[in-house]
Symmetry: C2
Subunit: 207 residues, 2 copies
DNA sequence: TAGATTGTTAATCGATTAACAATC
DNA sequence: TAGATTGTTAATCGATTAACAATC
C-alpha cells in the first residue's frame, strides 16, 4: 500500500502495462500475471511486480492481477481523469498531427490553443481549435492558467519561445525541437527529438 | 582508437553531441570541451568523454575536441552519408508529418514510398512521394530492397502489418503504434509511442 | 612552465534479476 | 492439499560519477 519512490524507467513502463491491461480486459481476461506482461514487453517478471508494488497495487497470489481493478488503478494513478490544459506552439506538420492525434484525449490531454507566428496560418482551423498569433500567447497562458506547453517549432526559435513561456509561469515543456533548452531547474523539460531518436534506432542495425 | 561496446544510453547521447557540435561550429568555435557539452545536456563531463572515447575519437588535452573534426567523425560514425531506404506505412496525420519532416533528410533518411489501405488516399502526393496501396507493399519491399519500415497505423492493425513486413525480410521497424509487436529476435523494433511518452512526462509534474 | 583539459581506472550508485518465503 | 503466483530481500549487473595521472 505504501508508495515507494518512482524512477523514470518505472514511469516509462507504467503506460505500457496499461496498454496491455486494457487490451486483456477487452478480450475478457479477468486476471493477468506479471509473467504475461513481462513476456509481452520482453522484460523480467520481477520488474513488473516491483513496478506494480511501487504504485501501491496488490495482486492475488496464485491468481494474478485483477485486470479491471488494475486498469482502473493505473488510470487513477496516472491521472487520466485529471484534465490537463495544454497549449501547442508551432502549427507545422508535426504540430498539426499532434493537434489532430486522437491518441491523447483518452489520457486527459486537452489542447486549448495552437499558436504560430506565420500570419497565413492564423485563423486556420485544426479540428475545433483555431491557430492564434504568438503575440497573444503570454496573455492566453495567464488567463487560462496553462501549465504545460508543447513545442513544435524550428530549433532556432525554441529557446526564445521557451524563455517567454517560463516568464509567464509555464511549468513543463514537451519539446520536439532538436535543441536542449536552457531552463530554470523547477521547469520540467521532456525532449522528444524524433530525428535523434531515429539515428539511435538505425545504429542498432550495425551489429 | 579501439572501439568499445556501445550501450543504448550512449547511442542516445551521440546525436545530442552532434547537435551541439554543429551549432558550435556554426558559431565559429574551433574547439569544444567535454565540460561545455555536459553543461548543455545537464550530464557529467566524464560521461561525455567516455562516450566520445567509445566511438574512437580523441581530443587534445588542454584544448578540447576539434569542433569540425568531431562533427565529421560523428557524421561518419552515425552513418549520415549512408542512404537509408525506408518505407512509411500509414498516411494519417502523423505519417504525413513524418513524410514532410525535413529534419530527417540531413541524416540520410530517404522515404521511398508511403503505403495506406484507404482508397481515398491512394495516389495522394506528399511532397514528391505518392501514396500507394498496401496491396503493393510486399512487392515494393522486395524489388527495392527496403530494410526499414516506419509504422504509423492504428494499434489494431500493427501486428498483422508487422508480420507481413517480416515475411518479406524487413530488418527494422520504427513503431509509432501504441502496441508491443511480437517479432522474431533478429528484427529490431524501436517503439515511439507518443501518448505513452506524454503520460510519463506529465507524471514528473507530481512532485 | 603552469594550467587546463583529456583519457582512464576505481568507486559509487541505481536498476535489473535471482531466489524464495508467503499466500490463496 | 499442491501448485501457481505474488511480494520482497539479496545478489548481480551495468551505468554514472569521482579521482587523478597524462598531456600539450
Amino acid at each position: 500500500m505504501k508508495e515507494k519512490k518512482l524512477t523514470i524507467p518505472t514511469l516509462k513502463r507504467l503506460p505500457l502495462y496499461y496498454n496491455i491491461a486494457i487490451r486483456a480486459l477487452a478480450r475478457g481476461e479477468n486476471y493477468i500475471s506479471s509473467a504475461f506482461i513481462a513476456e509481452k514487453l520482453d522484460i523480467d517478471a520481477t520488474q513488473v511486480r516491483k513496478d506494480i508494488a511501487t504504485i501501491g497495487y496488490v495482486g492475488k497470489p496464485k491468481v494474478g492481477f485483477d485486470t479491471k481493478e488494475f486498469s482502473t488503478h493505473l488510470e487513477t494513478f496516472l491521472g487520466f481523469s485529471k484534465e490537463r490544459n495544454i497549449i501547442l506552439i508551432g502549427a507545422g506538420n508535426l504540430g498539426i498531427a499532434l493537434a489532430k492525434y486522437d491518441g491523447f484525449t483518452q489520457y486527459g490531454l486537452q489542447i486549448k490553443a495552437i499558436f504560430d507566428k506565420d500570419s497565413r496560418k492564423i485563423g486556420m482551423k485544426i479540428l475545433d481549435k483555431e491557430v492564434i498569433s504568438v503575440s497573444e500567447m503570454k496573455n492566453f497562458i495567464v488567463k487560462n492558467n496553462i501549465q504545460i506547453a508543447v513545442l513544435t517549432i524550428p530549433a532556432q526559435f525554441a529557446q526564445e519561445v521557451a524563455d517567454e513561456l517560463v516568464s509567464v509561469g509555464i511549468k513543463a515543456i514537451w519539446n520536439f525541437a532538436p535543441v536542449n533548452l536552457d531552463l530554470p531547474k523547477d521547469v520540467i523539460c521532456w525532449n522528444q527529438d524524433l530525428a535523434a531518436s531515429f539515428i539511435t534506432f538505425v545504429q542498432l542495425l550495425k551489429d
